[in-house]
Point group: C2
């Protein structure tokens, strides 16, 4: 049985959309148990069938306006803190929320805790690759957990992203690239130049060099490594531009008279396909990778289908042992370092 | 008479496309003289009419493969170096090239030189605003001149961008925003938090706070201030996503049988409008602002229409005295500082 702790109170459509998604997922995935944290009375009003769904009362709610770190420290009885604590205590395998992003990250970091060897967990998300028969998506990391990153953080994102792409997207020896301001090896600011050097020396990743943001959607890499500030800006640029373009297409249909409307009708299926191809909530939410268990944050605007996709994603993360895989990688790195220290002592 | 020094040898379609564009511009703008730098024999082969076009032989060419700073130092007889030198010597009012970007920037920095008070010139470009009846474009700066930026550089981009937007886009009291990882005042990494504080204290700009890249194309600001690394990534994300979306629309037309093709035909005008709306070469090239004269870099893929647009842009920059305006601003700032130092000495 996979046990997932869920913040029922997070997101613009909570708790209804969360509960609806959880009930749909429960009906789809027979080996999964759901721990639903939130105001018991409200949850019970909406819950149709309690089969494999356990409701745990959480008196407090962390709102979007709360200062994240302080809220996680003070609101001990909030749905986010209680769900994260269940993971820490081994009562659940993973935790997810559509609520206050900062609070979800803080709860992950301070309550669930980091894998030994990871300095800064980062947020990973899958994004679509378009017009490429050989690849349908890629992952990018960090998309915004850390506003200031050191080269070693980017190196760790590369390892974490490799595990994620291998196990979640069945990418064999995933191509890892550094998002940079040019494709040549010597490009970048200080942090990215140093990160490039580190990535070249990193064991067990398939580093292919620098890529530019212009080429991401074409499938130039499976794992795109970036600092959280740039990654956040790039992700939001892609989102905003795609939305603007879809809006322009809509205008072309509606503002060009009868012929435009007829054209739009004839192309309706094609346009719907574009919309669904660009909708990356199909891959679930953003995962804070580098923690001792999967912690997933979905868009505040998530509705039931995104909740179902996120639960599917979490089940796969648990089934493919991503966290134990990363933990073993870093334990091994440390053992190798120790061995090489021992050896150099012997040789003295 | 406006005199423009032009690198005839830069860009994928040089010298033909450059010469063709210059001849078209010459026919359009009667008060403009063109100094065309490059291999005289080659230029003369393509030049139809020498009216107001002076050809100056440049034996060397800086290629796309040349290391920029070294090439500018060594290739004294290259079209880029000679054109920039003409500006320095007062023989021309401005300089532009579609060649090696780094070399154009280096020639601007080392030959044309900085305005007193500006630490790091930055690259500015105009980008489209879509689906907004009140605004058709905005400017973003720095889009990649400096990979590492300090808060004071971002502050100077805000001033430079304000002058550019006021005089090139007739924006009254242009809204200046900082591109950040959230809209709240306390968002950002260290550099952006410090830049926010500086922008709040900057005289004579209309700072409206932080914006996210997701909202740029909607027209949330007239001047978007960003460090060159992030700005470069965002610009290329917008470009890449727009291109991918247009590709998907094309696929929708061609891969959905007869009805799709008919739909495409009916929407042809609408699609062409989208394409031309997203094509920001209509605004000319990217300007390295902060130099003692306009230095403009256009895409390597520029053809004659972009050359014409860039010449239009340069003429307007010269006519609206952007460079003298910025120079006066910083001279005034320094005079104020001196006055306040004098006053504090008096009070002692």
């Amino acid at each position: 049985m996979v046990k997932i702790a869920i913040d029922a109170m997070g997101g613009d459509y909570a708790p209804e959309a969360v509960i609806e998604g959880v009930e749909q997922a429960r009906d789809l995935f027979e080996d999964t148990v759901f721990l639903l944290y939130g105001k018991r009375d409200v949850i019970n009003q909406h819950l149709k069938n309690r089969d494999r769904i356990q409701v745990i009362n959480a008196d407090e709610v962390i709102t979007m306006e709360d200062e994240p770190v302080r809220a996680v420290r003070r609101k001990k009885n909030s749905s986010i803190v209680m769900a994260a604590t269940a993971v820490k205590d081994g009562e659940a395998d993973a935790f997810f929320s559509a609520g206050n992003s900062g609070a979800v990250l803080a709860a992950g970091l301070f309550i669930v805790g980091r894998i030994k060897g990871i300095d800064r967990p980062g947020l990973v998300t899958a994004l679509p690759v378009v017009r490429n028969a050989n690849q349908s998506n890629f992952v990018m990391m960090d998309i915004g957990a850390n506003a200031d990153s050191k080269p070693v953080n980017l190196q760790q994102y590369a390892v974490l992203g490799t595990y994620y792409a291998e196990r979640m997207m069945q990418a064999k020896s995933p191509r890892v690239a550094l998002l940079n301001n040019g494709t040549e090896d010597d490009k970048g600011n200080k942090v990215h130049k140093a990160a490039f050097e580190l990535l070249q020396q990193t064991a067990d990743i398939n580093f292919i060099g620098n890529v530019e943001s212009r080429d991401l959607l074409n499938g130039v890499a499976d794992v795109v490594v970036t600092d959280g500030f740039t990654g956040n800006a790039v992700l939001k640029s892609i989102e905003g531009t795609a939305r603007s373009m879809l809006g322009l297409v809509k205008d072309a249909v509606y503002n060009t008279g009868v012929s435009g409307k007829l054209g739009g009708l004839l192309l309706k299926n094609g346009f719907n396909q574009i919309r669904s191809q660009m909708d990356y909530s199909q891959y679930g939410g953003a995962v804070l990778l580098g923690l001792k268990a999967p912690v997933v944050k979905t868009h505040g605007s998530s509705k039931a289908p995104t909740v179902v996709n996120t639960i599917r994603q979490i089940r796969q993360m648990v089934a493919t042992d991503i966290v134990p895989g990363v933990a073993a990688y870093y334990a091994n790195q440390q053992a190798n370092q120790q061995a090489s220290v021992d050896k150099s002592v012997e040789n003295d």
